[in-house]
Symmetry: C2
Subunit: 130 residues, 2 copies
DNA sequence: CGGTATCCGTTCTGATACTG
DNA sequence: CAGTATCAGAACGGATACCG
């Protein structure tokens, strides 16, 4: 990093954007948020998540779960019972993230329509339909 | 929405996660955040962004710029001067987002080490090195 | 200056099938 | 119940070259 701070902007990018981008890269997977939200109110089991998220494949659920676990956002607990039982619970860190995500949710909700409108306008103006 | 609230989780997902996921899908591109941050302190030109973000290709810059513009996050102004001049500026909506992103940045900074540690621990425990 | 077009490798996702 | 394995297709991202 820092190969010659010829201009200030570059520093801003490196100082602010990188950490977030890195985190978001892990949080912004197509399903991560859904899982964090679903696990926010307590430990959840694999199948519960599968049903709750509706649309996610077993594969993606597993992959996303692993990624979140690896990043220390999810704690995985295995109960060696006869029918296997595994519970996923948010770590403190993730719970904080969940709170933080709230303002983003809020922003998203508040501007959802504006975004949709902007998109429609853009498509109508720039990408003249066939 | 609401296809039969058999269980609460599903509703939470549909009510909260979807809009955010949708938004984050647009904001979480590898470069979107960088551009938003870089444009936060005023209108920027194409080339400025290209230099500021360092590592981005012309193609990705254009694509990301278009995406953000389409979503109404960026306003593109073309000055029909002899050497073409185009400026990109955050819309009010995007400026709000930028503020919101701050808490996420904060979270990321505060837990960066914890995440790295968790990852290292996970790799050491679960994915026994060759 | 500010793009667009094309090629190409990598990553992400989903569908399906099998297992401890 | 809670995964893992494999495969194929779509989307993403980078490099390069050309254009108004």
């Amino acid at each position: 990093m820092s190969q010659s701070h010829t201009d200030v902007s570059a520093e801003v990018i490196e100082a602010e954007a990188c950490p977030v981008a890195e985190v978001l890269d892990h949080v912004a997977g197509k399903w991560s948020i859904g899982i964090i939200v679903a696990a926010a109110h307590g430990p959840v089991r694999f199948t519960e998540l599968e049903r709750a998220i509706n649309g996610i494949s077993r594969r993606m659920l597993t992959l996303t779960l692993r990624k979140l676990e690896r990043d220390g956002l999810l704690q995985r607990t295995v109960y060696p019972t006869v029918p296997p039982k595994v519970e996923y619970e948010l770590t403190d860190m993730a719970r904080e993230l969940h709170s933080t995500l709230a303002s983003l949710t809020d922003w998203a909700e508040r501007h959802r329509h504006a975004i949709a409108a902007a998109r429609a306008a853009y498509d109508a103006t720039a990408g003249q339909p066939v």
